[in-house]
């Protein structure tokens, strides 16, 4: 049995779809952020896998993933700072409670 490119892309696709599902359905802001991380991770896998299968001698995909991880870390740190701030302001992190700036 040959493990081809497709074998890696399918789990990553499922992971991405799980991210989408979580993003659309969860109401807790941290849960939404976790779903976001899932999607990001799925994309990272794709980068690496394509790099490995199509351009084995080069490192573009790997470095892209590397930077994506760094940015994800930064983004998460900031998002959590915001969430904590929001929690202080409205005593909750349910997105349905954040309606103060609506019309």
């Amino acid at each position: 049995m040959e493990i081809t490119l497709l074998y890696y892309l399918i789990p990553s696709l499922i992971m991405f779809c799980c991210g989408v599902y979580g993003f659309l359905t969860r109401k807790n802001m941290i849960a939404i952020l976790i779903s976001l991380e899932l999607m990001l991770n799925a994309v990272d896998i794709n980068f690496v896998v394509f790099n490995r299968f199509l351009f084995p001698g080069q490192m573009e995909g790997m470095f892209f993933t590397l930077f994506a991880i760094a940015i994800a870390a930064a983004e998460t740190a900031l998002a959590i700072a915001i969430i904590i701030n929001v929690f202080r302001a409205v005593k909750g992190i349910d997105v349905r409670d954040l309606t103060k700036m609506k019309f």
Partner: protein, 170 residues
């Protein structure tokens, strides 16, 4: 033709990715969700190891599993009161999310299955040692990434300051 061990390894990893991803978004307890995310990230790191990118796998474990998930756990503990970490999903909401996810799966899966069957073999690749990675990060020539590296470092600095400013008590 791969070795049986690597095939078994692959399946374990694939099943772990799928199962833990699904569990991450379906579990009701937010702390469990973070834990399943951690497992998913470990499985991803395993994929990187299988792809022979050891450095990347190490970064994945260190930064994601070691940093981000810990951050998640801390923030969950900070922001949730005991007892209210379960949330019931409205069925309409779940149907909408499910529709989008399944539609995505179908469209992308169909195009993948119909297009990607040509890339069958995994070409051989030499070991990427740390020297290569370091050179690529520190150079300014073709295929080298000093500028993004610096940009990332500035971004991280901005994030540190921003995080402090945003989250600090007023």
């Amino acid at each position: 033709m791969e070795s049986v061990g690597s095939i078994i390894m692959y399946f374990i990893i694939a099943v772990a990715i799928i199962v833990f991803s699904v569990l991450t978004v379906t579990t009701r307890k937010i702390l469990r969700s973070a834990t399943y995310l951690l497992f998913t990230l470990f499985a991803t790191a395993a994929v990187y190891f299988m792809m022979d990118y050891e450095f990347l796998g190490a970064v994945q474990i260190a930064v994601y599993a070691g940093g981000i998930v810990v951050l998640f756990v801390f923030s969950i503990l900070l922001t949730s009161r005991p007892g209210d970490n379960t949330e019931k999903l409205a069925s309409r909401r779940r149907v909408l999310g499910l529709t989008a996810a399944v539609a995505m799966l179908l469209v992308a899966g169909y195009s993948l299955v119909s297009r990607c069957s040509m890339f069958v073999s995994r070409p051989e690749m030499g070991e990427i040692d740390m020297q290569q990675v370091g050179t690529a990060l520190m150079g300014t020539g073709y295929g080298q990434y000093l500028l993004p590296f610096e940009a990332i470092s500035v971004l991280l600095l901005a994030c540190i300051i921003g995080g402090i400013v945003v989250a600090r008590k007023r």
